[in-house]
């Protein structure tokens, strides 16, 4: 686990590019530690965020680190609420607060076993940095609501796409593609990130075929470093896991099921 510098850091936006229905936010962070794939950061715009006349957003928002390249960190954004909207408005030269890298990331597949990366919607982000560091080629399966969102698949190489409305790729769920993939390659290791429904589908399929799976979870969190105890998910056998410090990447075997309501404040 890469440790974070103590305290949030004021960094500069170097770019904001459209990627279909999403935005890719690029932030200059030449001195920041190299994150592990699956780690995340808490982001808040330096202006217009929890101060002055602004009532919301107040708390920073958690985003997977989608890529590290040339001293920049990349984040995948979708405008779904006051926090993500404010972040989507950022332009090159503006500044934002960054706390991270945080959390436990993915760990590498055992030697000789093929990785299947499966993502849904904005949750494809940590799979991009994972693909960047994996030594061997991986199968990439990505699901989206529609064609505009499916353009996000360009973040990864060689992705097979599924859309809910059939406007791009396979008409149906990305977990359909996973089911076929697991039949072809029963020795695979699965890495997944996406909405709770998709993750639960992945968990159930992998449990049925005895396939190891690492799930990058999302949950509403106030702090990102274990302080608020707000981001919990039930652990198999009782009790809770904190997504921020016990995850966000959690072994599927540690979960009874992926709960639907673990959504984040947007």
């Amino acid at each position: 686990m890469t440790q974070a510098p103590f305290g949030r850091r004021l960094l500069t936006v170097t770019g904001m590019e459209e990627l279909g229905a999403y935005r890719v936010l690029r932030v200059a962070d030449p001195d920041g530690p190299e994150p592990e794939p699956g780690q995340f950061a808490m982001l808040a715009a330096a202006e217009g965020w929890g101060g002055g006349e602004q009532q919301r957003p107040l708390l920073p928002r958690a985003f997977s680190i989608a890529r590290r390249s040339d001293g920049e960190s990349h984040f995948l954004l979708e405008d779904v609420g006051p926090g993500t909207r404010r972040l989507c408005e950022l332009r090159a030269g503006e500044r934002l607060w960054v706390l991270g890298p945080l959390g436990r990331g993915f760990y590498a597949p055992p030697q000789g076993r093929r990785a299947i990366l499966i993502g849904g919607g904005v949750g494809i982000a940590p799979l991009a940095i994972l693909q960047d560091v994996l030594q061997a080629p991986a199968t990439v399966l990505l699901g989206f609501r529609d064609r505009a969102r499916a353009q996000g698949a360009a973040l990864l190489d060689g992705a097979r796409v599924a859309t809910d409305d059939g406007s791009s790729g396979h008409h149906g769920l990305v977990t359909d593609l996973l089911a076929a993939g697991l039949q072809r390659d029963p020795e695979a290791v699965v890495y997944a990130c996406g909405p709770a429904g998709m993750l639960e589908g992945v968990r159930a399929l992998c449990a049925a075929s005895d396939t190891p799976a690492q799930l990058a979870l999302e949950a509403g969190m106030a702090c990102g470093f274990g302080a608020c105890f707000g981001c919990v998910v039930p652990r198999r056998g009782g009790g809770y896991l904190r997504v921020c410090v016990d995850g966000p990447v959690i072994d599927a075997a540690e979960l009874e099921r992926v709960e639907e309501h673990a959504g984040a404040p947007a």
């Binding site: 107040l58 106030a222 702090c223 105890f229 707000g230 981001c231 919990v232 039930p234």
Partner: protein
């Protein structure tokens, strides 16, 4: 600007609110940088209960206007687990974070549903020299047991009196804001033998589940017309913190400080040295930071150095 607080010498007047900073988790996330820049002059543990608690089912958070509603439910390992697993780690952190060979004082926050339970907790803390002071949680609005004791001055005085003799350590009573007269409660705590009071805890609040196609969980209305909308939080209700509560806290801290002779720890929505200064100016001896640490784990250090800069100017 070192401060004397119930005989403890603190490097500055900024500490954390109980349950808003998990120093053990933060040590894992930030490493030794946490120690060299430790944000608090004393460290208050999260609330410890006799038996382990898992906490409330999620969702546990809601971002409100200029605030945060939480319904965490006091998850903790229980007294035995805390003393065996957490306290040794906190002692190591406090030693590493201290200056001039003086560890950061550790304050243990405890909650019980009766005077007997609280007495057991306080007696156990008394046995541990590493614990510098004890804070009684009689106010957490998330848990039914904590609410009544702190909201009723007579009960509060009786409970504080019952546990007072069990320890020689400073005893801080954390007051609930969800009561008719917080100053009267503070006075009752003082009469019971408290060495200090701290306030405010969170204000009871709730948030509703977003309107959606899914069937509400609540009971149906008599004629099946409109069902009650269920709460968003797994615990039903929660407590409001953050900038939204700051002026309420300021009024309550001022009222309490005017009423009691013992020191007051003021907290509620503090984001800056200016906010902290206002609490000190109405009579608080220490200021605690909570929700702002969620926005920036180093907030306490920033606020403390801001106070120091202003004092030196």
């Amino acid at each position: 600007m070192s401060v004397d607080f119930c005989g403890l010498e603190l490097a500055h007047p900024v500490i954390n609110g109980s349950g808003t900073f998990d120093a053990i988790a933060a040590r894992t996330v930030f490493g030794d940088a946490l120690l060299s820049d430790f944000p608090f002059a004393a460290y208050v543990s999260k609330t410890i209960t006799l038996e382990p608690r898992q906490g409330n089912p999620p969702p546990r958070l809601w971002e409100a206007s200029a605030g945060l509603i939480n319904s965490i439910g006091l998850p903790n390992k229980g007294l035995e687990g805390y003393l065996r697993e957490d306290l040794p780690q906190l002692v190591e952190i406090a030693a590493g974070a201290g200056e001039h060979g003086q560890p950061v004082p550790l304050i243990t926050n405890v909650m019980g549903s009766s005077a007997e339970e609280l007495s057991q907790l306080v007696e156990a803390c008394e046995q541990h020299g590493e614990i510098a002071a004890i804070e009684l949680n009689v106010s957490c609005p998330n848990v039914k047991t904590g609410l009544d004791i702190g909201a009723d001055p007579r009960q509060l005085e009786a409970v504080v009196r019952a546990v007072r003799d069990r320890t020689r350590k400073p005893l801080i009573v954390k007051l609930t804001p969800n009561t008719a007269d917080v100053a009267l409660c503070a006075q009752a705590a003082q009469e019971g033998g408290a060495d200090a009071v701290s306030l405010i805890n969170t204000l009871r609040a709730t948030a509703l589940a977003p309107r959606g196609p899914s069937a509400p969980r609540g009971p149906s209305a008599p004629h099946g017309a409109s069902a009650r909308r269920p709460p968003w939080l797994g615990g039903g209700t929660g407590g409001l913190s953050g900038p939204a509560v700051r002026v309420v806290a300021l009024a309550q801290v001022a009222a309490v400080a005017a009423r009691v002779r013992i020191p007051v720890v003021g907290m509620g929505g503090v984001r800056s040295a200016c906010d902290a200064r206002e609490l000190l100016d109405v009579g608080a001896t220490l200021v605690a930071v909570g929700t702002e640490s969620f926005r920036d784990p180093a907030a306490g250090a920033r606020i403390a150095s801001g106070l120091q800069a202003a004092a030196g100017a």
